[in-house]
C-alpha cells in the first residue's frame, strides 16, 4: 500500500521535475523560517507556542513521510550542491538510505515532541518565547542538516549549530547557577567532541585535500591511518552520544534543560551521533578490523551496565532517565560493535542482524525515551518537584500522564509485547551466533557478553519499576501533591502519538524492519528477512527463532477479556472499599513506603565498587538522627577533575606571560620581529 502511494507521488514529482531531496530541503528551510517568524510577535507565548510549534510538528510529519517513501521506494541516492558555503567548497547535500532512516526517526519522534512542546511552554521559562522558538527550530533544522550533509564542512557547520542551539536551550532558565554550570560542562564536552570529529575528517581526506564525502569514500588508507580516523571518530561521536567515559555531561545537562528539550536531546541528538559513527565506520572507511568491533563491544557493554547501575541509585527523576539514556546508547554501540566483528569475520548475515538490532533500538529509544521525558515534564509542571523523595501517588490525580508513562516504562524495560523487547530480542539473537567466530578466545569470551546484556536489560526493568512506582504509585510523599492537575490536550496529543508508536512497533515490528532492510543492504550488502508472514518476524529462519508481537498482544488482551467475563458471569463483581490491610498495622503513613534510595539499596550493596559513596549514618544516641548518602561518579573524580586541574595549572603557568606592563608587551612584539627577520631572510 505504501509502495503504490509512492508511485503516485513520484509520478507527480517527475512531472514537476523535483525529487525527494528538494522537498526535504524545502521542509528544513521552512523550519528555519518558522524559527525566525517568532520575532514577528516576540513576547507572545500564545503565538509562538500555539501556532509555530504545531506548524513545526506538521513539518516533522512531512519529513518522516518523505523519508519513509524514499526508503520504501529503494531509489538511488540523490545529491545536490547548494551555492552556499566556501568559494571552493560549496555545501554538498545527499539523501541516501542511511540518512533516510535517521530522518524518519527525526520526523516521527520530533512530531510528538513538538506537539507536546506546544502545550508545555506556558511562560517564557526565563527566555523570551520568540528566542525559544528560534532556538528550538534551529536545533531541529541543524540536526536534519547533519544527517543530510555530504561534505565535512557542512557537517561541521551543522554540528556546531546543533551544539550551540542546544546549549541555549539547556540554559533556558539561565538565572539558576547550577543550570549555567551544567550548560558550561555540556559546551566544553561538545567542543572536545567536535575537535575530535574535525581531526577525524582531517585524517579521512587521505591527502587529497578534498573534503567531500565522495572523495573520502574513494580514498585508500594504511591500517594505521584507518584506525586513527576510527578512534578519533569514536572519541568525538562517543562524546556526543554519551558513551562511557565521555558521558559526564549527560546527567548534568538533561535535568537542567526543560523537558521537551531533554526529550529532543536524548531522543534525537544522541541518534545523530550514532548516525555519524555509522557513516564514518561503514560508509567513509572502506576497510574495517575486528579489533574495532571488540573495542566497540566492550565499551558498549560497559556503558550499558554503568548506566543501568547508576540509574538505579538516583533520586532525581530526570537524572535517572539521563543515566538510562547512557545505558541504551551503550546497547546500540554493542550492536554496532558486533556487526563490525561479524563482518570482518565474513559472517555477513549475522552482521546484518546485529546492525538491524542497533538501528531498531535507536528508533525505539527515540520513541520511548522521549515519551518518558515528556511525562516527567508534565509531572514537573503539575507538582514543581523533581526529586523522587517528594513525589508519589500521582496515578490518582494525573491518570492520562500515568497511563502513557506506564506504556513508556514497559517499553523501556524491554517487556513483550511492546517495542523495547523487539530490539533486545534481535540483539540477543545476534549474540547467539558469536561462538561461531573464528578467533580463538573471542568465541568463548563474547558469549559472556550476552549474559552482561541480559543482566543490563533486567536491571533496566528494575530501574523502571523504581521510576514508575515511586512517582506514580503508592502514597503521596508531600501533602501538596493532591493539587496536581493532568496534562492539557496538546500535551496529551504528543504523548498519545509517541505511546501509539511504541505499541504499534511492538505489535508490528515488520514496519521498522522493512525500513532498516535497505540500510543494512547498502552498508553490509546483506539483509535479514524482514517478515516471513504478516504477523511475525523471523530474522534468520522460521525454525531457528520467530516472534509475533501482534499475536502476543492480541492473545493477552483476549485472555484477559475472557477471564473477566467468565469471572463476572460465574461469580460476582462485588467490591468493598476499606483501609489497606498492611498486616493489621493501624498507623500506616506515607513515610513507611520505600524511598528512592531504599529501592536502590540492593544495587548499592552489590555493585558498590562502581560508586564513590559518602555515607553518614545515625548512631543510637543521636537526638535527631539523620541518614545521608551521597553517590558520585568515580570517573569524574578520577579522570576529569585531575585533567581539569592540569589544564588549570597549565593555564596558570602560561598566564605568567601576561605581565600587565606595556613595555613587556612591546618587548614580545620586538622579539617576534627579530625572530621573523632571522628565519625568513
Amino acid at each position: 500500500m505504501l509502495l503504490s502511494a509512492n508511485h503516485w507521488i513520484s509520478g507527480l514529482a517527475e512531472t514537476l521535475a523535483v525529487n525527494d531531496l528538494h522537498f526535504m530541503l524545502l521542509l528544513v528551510a521552512a523550519w528555519m523560517t518558522l524559527g525566525f517568524a517568532g520575532f514577528l510577535r516576540p513576547h507572545s507565548i500564545r503565538f509562538v507556542a500555539r501556532f509555530l510549534f504545531p506548524a513545526g510538528a506538521l513539518l516533522c510529519l512531512g519529513v518522516a513521510l518523505l523519508a519513509g517513501l524514499f526508503l520504501a521506494s529503494g531509489q538511488a541516492p540523490q545529491a545536490v550542491v547548494l551555492p552556499l558555503g566556501l568559494p571552493d567548497l560549496p555545501f554538498h547535500i545527499r539523501l541516501d538510505v542511511l540518512s533516510g532512516f535517521f530522518l524518519l526517526l527525526l520526523g516521527v519522534a520530533g512530531a510528538g515532541i513538538s506537539i507536546f512542546a506546544a502545550g508545555y511552554f506556558r511562560s517564557g521559562e526565563g527566555t523570551a518565547p520568540a528566542l525559544l522558538g528560534l532556538e528550538y527550530h534551529l536545533f531541529l533544522a541543524s540536526m536534519a542538516m547533519v544527517i543530510l550533509a555530504d561534505d565535512a564542512y557542512l557537517f561541521m557547520v551543522a554540528w556546531e549549530t546543533m551544539a550551540l542551539s542546544s546549549y541555549f536551550l539547556v540554559t533556558s532558565h539561565h538565572r539558576i547557577p547550577e543550570i549555567r554550570r551544567a550548560g558550561f560542562l555540556y559546551l566544553i564536552m561538545a567542543h572536545v567532541g567536535a575537535v575530535c570529529i574535525l581531526l577525524s575528517f582531517g585524517v579521512l581526506q587521505g591527502g587529497s585535500w578534498q573534503f567531500t564525502f565522495d572523495a573520502m569514500r574513494s580514498a585508500h588508507f594504511a591500517p594505521f591511518w584507518a584506525t586513527t580516523a576510527f578512534l578519533l571518530a569514536l572519541l568525538g561521536f562517543g562524546a556526543k552520544a554519551g558513551l562511557v567515559p565521555m558521558h559526564v555531561w549527560l546527567p548534568e545537562a538533561h535535568p537542567a534543560a526543560p523537558s521537551p528539550v531533554s526529550a529532543m536531546m536524548s531522543g534525537l541528538m544522541l541518534k545523530t551521533a550514532i548516525y555519524g559513527m555509522l557513516r564514518v565506520s561503514f560508509d567513509l572507511l572502506s576497510i574495517r578490523f575486528w579489533q574495532w568491533g571488540v573495542l566497540l563491544l566492550v565499551l558498549g557493554l560497559f556503558s550499558a551496565l554503568f548506566g543501568a547501575i547508576f540509574a538505579a541509585v538516583q533520586t532525581d527523576m530526570k537524572r535517572l532517565l539521563a543515566y538510562s539514556s547512557i545505558e541504551n546508547v551503550g546497547l546500540i554501540f554493542t550492536g554496532i560493535g558486533l556487526s563490525i566483528l561479524f563482518e570482518t569475520s565474513n559472517m555477513h548475515l549475522f552482521a546484518a542482524l546485529a546492525l538491524t538490532a542497533a538501528l531498531v533500538h535507536s528508533f525505539n529509544h527515540a520513541l520511548f525515551k522521549s515519551l518518558l521525558f515528556l511525562t516527567t515534564g508534565s509531572v514537573l509542571h503539575a507538582t514543581k518537584q523533581r526529586s523522587l523523595g517528594k513525589l508519589g501517588g500521582l496515578i490518582r490525580h494525573m491518570p492520562w500522564v500515568a497511563s502513557f508513562a506506564l506504556i513508556g516504562t514497559l517499553s523501556i524495560a524491554g517487556l513483550p509485547p511492546l517495542n523495547g523487547f523487539v530490539s533486545e530480542w534481535l540483539l540477543l539473537q545476534s549474540f547467539l551466533f558469536t561462538p561461531q567466530l573464528p578467533h580463538a578466545f573471542l568465541n568463548m569470551l563474547i558469549p559472556l557478553g550476552a549474559a552482561v546484556l541480559a543482566l543490563t536489560v533486567a536491571l533496566s526493568a528494575y530501574v523502571m519499576v523504581k521510576f514508575y512506582g515511586v512517582i506514580f504509585l503508592g502514597q503521596p510523599r508531600e501533602p501538596s501533591l493532591v493539587h496536581a492537575h493532568d496534562a492539557n490536550w496538546l500535551e496529551r496529543l504528543g504523548l498519545i502519538w509517541l505511546a501509539a508508536g511504541c505499541v504499534l512497533i511492538g505489535a508490528l515490528p515488520q514496519i521498522v524492519l522493512s525500513a532498516v532492510a535497505p540500510v543494512t543492504g547498502k552498508l553490509l550488502g546483506n539483509t535479514v528477512r524482514s517478515s516471513s508472514t504478516f504477523w511475525s518476524i523471523a530474522p534468520i529462519a522460521q525454525e531457528q527463532a520467530s516472534y509475533s508481537g501482534l499475536i502476543l498482544l492480541a492473545g493477552i488482551l483476549s485472555v484477559v477479556a475472557i477471564t473477566f467475563v467468565c469471572v463476572r458471569l460465574l461469580a460476582h463483581g462485588r467490591i468493598r472499599r476499606t483501609a489497606a490491610w498492611d498486616c493489621g498495622y493501624p498507623w500506616q503513613t506515607c513515610r513507611m513506603q520505600d524511598t528512592a534510595e531504599g529501592f536502590g539499596q540492593p544495587i548499592r550493596h552489590m555493585f558498590g565498587a562502581f560508586f564513590r559513596m559518602e555515607r553518614s549514618l545515625p548512631s543510637a544516641s543521636d537526638d535527631a538522627p539523620r541518614y545521608r548518602v551521597y553517590i558520585e561518579d568515580r570517573l569524574w573524580c578520577g579522570v576529569y577533575l585531575p585533567i581539569a586541574r592540569g589544564v588549570q595549572g597549565l593555564a596558570d603557568a602560561i598566564a605568567v606571560l601576561q605581565g600587565g606592563r606595556l613595555s613587556i608587551y612591546l618587548l614580545y612584539s620586538f622579539l617576534t620581529l627579530l625572530a621573523l627577520l632571522v628565519f625568513v631572510l
Partner: protein, 317 residues
C-alpha cells in the same frame, strides 16, 4: 493450519489451567509426607480457589485501576505462555509466536506488573516485596539466558518446538553440558517461582517474604487469580524444563491422531508426578537463604550454565 491442531491447542490450554493447582497440591502433599506430617487433601487448592472466587473483594481505598487489573494481566500472560509451550504436542498454531527468549520476557512482564501492583497501595511490605522480587529477577535472567544459549548450541534453535524435535533426532543423555544446564535450570526455576532456598511459599513472617509480600493486599477473586497464575507459572517452568531436557512422550511433527495425544498426556502427568516429588525433596533438604546470599546462589547457577557452555565448546560434543 488444520483444524486438528487448533483442537490440540485448546486441549493443551485447558489441561494446563486445570492441572496447575493440582500440581501445587501434589507438591504440598509430598512435602508433608517428607516432613512426617499428615498431608492436606490433594484437591484442596481447588476448594480454596472456589472459596476465594465467591468472597467479596476487600479493596483499599487508595487502590488504582492498575492494582485491580494486574491479577487479570498475570493470569492472561501465564495462560498465553501455557498455550505456547509445547507440553503435549509440537505442532501448535501458537508455538511459533514466541521462542524461549520471548517466553522469558513474558514471565518478566508478569513479574513487573505484580511488582507495580505491590507498590500501588504504598505499604512498607509491598514495596519491600517488589524490590526483592525485582532483584531476584534481574539476577536470574543471565543464568536462564545461558541455559537457553546451551540449548541453542546443542540443537541450533531457541524455538521450543525445534528443540524438542532436535532432541528426538540426536538424544545425548549424558552430555556434561546438558547436565550442567539442567542443574542450572532447576536452580533458576526454584528462584523464579519463589521456592526454598530463595523464598518460603508457606511463611507467615512478613519480613522474610518475597512473593507473598506482594500479595498481602489482594483478596477474594483477585487473590484467586494471582494464586492460579503462580501455580501456572510453576507448571510452565516445569514444562519448559521437560521440553529442554526430557521431551519423551511429546507428540512431534507428523504424529497426529488421538493415540499419540493420549500418550503425551500420560507422559506429562508422569513427569509432573516425578518432578513434584523431586521439588518437594529439594525443598525439604535445603534451608531458606538470607536475602543477600541469593546473589551467590544465582551466581552459582550462572556459573554452572556458563561452564556447560564452555565444556560444550571445548569438548566439541
Amino acid at each position: 493450519m488444520r483444524a486438528i491442531s487448533f483442537v490440540r491447542q485448546f486441549v493443551e490450554v485447558v489441561l494446563a489451567i486445570a492441572i496447575a493447582p493440582l500440581f501445587a497440591g501434589w507438591i504440598a502433599q509430598c512435602r508433608a509426607w517428607l516432613q512426617n506430617r499428615s498431608a492436606p487433601p490433594l484437591l484442596l487448592p481447588y476448594r480454596t480457589l472456589r472459596k476465594l472466587f465467591f468472597k467479596d473483594v476487600a479493596l483499599a481505598t487508595d487502590a488504582s485501576l492498575l492494582f485491580r487489573a494486574t491479577p487479570y494481566v498475570l493470569f492472561g500472560t501465564m495462560v498465553l505462555a501455557a498455550a505456547i509451550i509445547p507440553s503435549l504436542v509440537t505442532d501448535l498454531p501458537l508455538a511459533r509466536v514466541a521462542d524461549s527468549i520471548a517466553l522469558v520476557g513474558l514471565f518478566a512482564t508478569a513479574r513487573v506488573f505484580l511488582s507495580l501492583a505491590a507498590m500501588d497501595i504504598g505499604t512498607a511490605f509491598g514495596t519491600l516485596g517488589a524490590r526483592r522480587e525485582m532483584m531476584v529477577g534481574f539476577l536470574a535472567e543471565p543464568a536462564l539466558l545461558m541455559v537457553l544459549f546451551n540449548a541453542f548450541l546443542l540443537y541450533g534453535s531457541t524455538s521450543l518446538p525445534s528443540l524438542v524435535d532436535g532432541y528426538r533426532t540426536h538424544p545425548s543423555i549424558i552430555d556434561p553440558s546438558v547436565i550442567f544446564a539442567a542443574v542450572a535450570f532447576v536452580m533458576v526455576a526454584l528462584a523464579e517461582n519463589a521456592r526454598i532456598p530463595i523464598d518460603n511459599p508457606s511463611t507467615h513472617l512478613e519480613l522474610t517474604m518475597i512473593h507473598e509480600a506482594m500479595l498481602l493486599e489482594y483478596s477474594a477473586r483477585h487473590l484467586a487469580l494471582v494464586e492460579w497464575a503462580s501455580s501456572l507459572k510453576l507448571f510452565n517452568y516445569a514444562c519448559i524444563g521437560f521440553a529442554l531436557f526430557m521431551p519423551w512422550g511429546i507428540a512431534t511433527q507428523g504424529l497426529d491422531g488421538v493415540g499419540p495425544l493420549l500418550i503425551a498426556i500420560a507422559a506429562l502427568i508422569g513427569k509432573l508426578v516425578i518432578a513434584g516429588a523431586a521439588l518437594a525433596l529439594i525443598e525439604s533438604l535445603s534451608a531458606k537463604l538470607r536475602i543477600f546470599r541469593a546473589p551467590e546462589y544465582l551466581a552459582m547457577a550462572f556459573l554452572l550454565a556458563v561452564l556447560g557452555l564452555l565444556v560444550h565448546l571445548l569438548l566439541g560434543a
